[in-house]
Amino acid sequence: MRDLTAIAVLWQREMIRFFRAKSRVVGTLGMPIFFLAFLGFGFQTSSVPGIPAGIDYVTFLVPGILGMTILFSSTFAGISVLWDREFGFLKEIMVAPVSRTAIVLGRIAGGATTSLVQGVLILLLAVPMGFPLPGVVPFLAAVAFMLLIAAAFISLGLIFASNMKDIHGFSLVMNFVVFPIFFLSGALFPVENLPAWLLPLAYADPLTYGVDGLRGVLTGVSSFSPLLDFVILSAFALLLLALGAWFFERSESA
């Protein structure tokens, strides 16, 4: 009971912080909007190799940009534990009589919600660019995929945050982990276009299944069946969550 309250309280803190920091919302949405606009319009008329017949590049790209939006905002949500540590607030959280699992779940609940809000905004912005408005069921399926992607990458952020002493490693993680995850995922072009030696990495990338799943449910075109994507992505999310909770529990907070 106390743990459920703690999850709710931590979630609410994220909401307050998120909606109070308007510039942060605009800031995090900026990158996916620019990617969408410049790549979408830039490649609109040219034929990108490997794009399945029957869909244009914008339609192909939008699920990838959705995945990217969730990837960045949720990794940040997980790694922002570092900022809580830097500003001392982590101690206030850690000294409270609630289970460490509840603290992890509270952060995931908060980060997943803010990521989802951003994802849905991007989806709405994509419609005037020519992306087909999804029906209710595909929309709900897309929400499920976005939440799974968020859970996976908030956990990944938590794993990094728990193993880092201060915020200086942050840009290292962004440049050498998050960007490669994004580029390998098939968000911008089909995974099959990658050289053969990179393919194993692409298939080890949880986001690959997130993007493919989103593409499947929103456009009907995908490399794997959305169900398979869902199963693999769930497995990744669970694994990362368990690891995240494990590392977080063991990190010292003073």
Binding site: T5, R13, F87, M94, V95
Partner: protein, 313 residues
């Protein structure tokens, strides 16, 4: 059962032994002070006792619960005010308190009542709905103290609670800590740099230096143990011959030179001032000023650690 029982508690960071096999007990209902220069290991000790750091060696029980094996039971019974700020500056003062109260499972009506009470105590009621980012340093400190009290802890840890507060607020906080201790029986363990604070507030004080407890007793006993009053003689002339002469007197317990003046520990100081001046005369030294102080914790501190607390490590 003591409120806190510490046995051989040790924390090593790499090669640095920050806390070195310390042992002590804090009785239920006591106000216990940890005094020490910068880097002595006070905060590290508090962090271990409040479950934020895992000890390298040794054990401790807080409210009867082991700080490693029963962390949650420890956490349920303590309140902590950290040395470093631990507020969410993107939230308002009230939101910070509300967050805290809910983490401790306090229901809505009770919560609102207690938040109102602690805000009034630290005189922040009218600024409660401003963002903490807009608070001054002292206001933040007061808010943190208020927060540590909301859950009505059995044991309250205060790491330099009044650092950076003005004299009036500091006295306010002391008063409140005393009331809390007397009326609710809250055990308090605090660290401080202010000798006066330790002297006035604490039932017992441990002076901790380089990770070890150097002395531990009531402030009165610690001061008595110095063996007399502190007398400072400002002089014109060479201090050496006078020092030699003074060292031979049976009622002079200690003699030294600090910043050009002679500092002495003298039994029954008032009665021996004439003899001191006479001794200076025969040593050919002119005394320009005499100062006599009843011993303070500061003197104990200097004797134990070999330096003034303001000089640091």
């Amino acid at each position: 059962m003591p409120a806190i029982r510490v046995e051989g508690l040790t924390k090593v960071f790499g090669t640095l032994v920050a806390v070195d096999h310390i042992s002590f007990e804090v009785a239920d209902g006591e106000i216990f002070g940890l005094l020490g220069p910068n880097g002595a290991g006070k905060t590290t000790t508090i962090s271990m006792l409040t479950t934020l750091l895992t000890p390298t060696e040794g054990t401790a029980e807080v409210a009867g619960a082991d700080i490693v094996r029963a962390r949650d039971r420890v956490r349920e019974q303590i309140g902590v005010v950290f040395q470093e700020p631990a507020l969410d500056t993107n939230l308002t003062g009230r939101e910070n308190l509300d967050f805290h109260a809910r983490m401790y499972g306090i229901g809505r009506t009770e919560r609102e009542e207690r938040i109102r009470a602690v805000l009034a105590l630290v005189e922040l009621s009218d600024r409660a709905d401003a963002l903490v980012a807009e608070y001054s340093g002292g206001m933040k400190r007061r808010l943190e103290i208020a927060r540590g009290l909301i859950q009505h802890p059995r044991i309250l840890f205060l790491d330099e609670p009044t650092l950076g507060l003005d004299a009036q607020t500091r006295r306010h906080i002391w008063e409140y800590i005393r009331t809390l201790n007397r009326e609710r029986g809250v055990t308090v363990i605090l660290t401080t740099h202010y000798m006066e604070e330790a002297d006035r507030l604490c039932d017992r004080v441990a002076i901790i230096d380089r990770g070890r407890i150097a002395v531990l007793d009531t402030p009165e006993k610690l001061k008595e143990a110095l063996g007399g009053d502190a007398i400072t003689l400002s002089i014109e002339g060479d201090a050496e011959p006078l020092l030699k002469a003074l060292a031979g007197l049976p009622w002079v317990k200690q003699a030294g030179v600090a910043s050009g003046a002679i500092t002495l520990t003298v039994e029954q100081g008032e009665r021996h001032i004439p003899a001191l001046i006479a001794a200076a005369g025969s040593a050919g030294v002119a005394v320009t000023a005499v100062n006599l102080r009843k011993p303070s914790l500061e003197d104990v501190f200097i004797q134990v650690t070999g330096r003034s607390i303001r000089e640091g490590a």
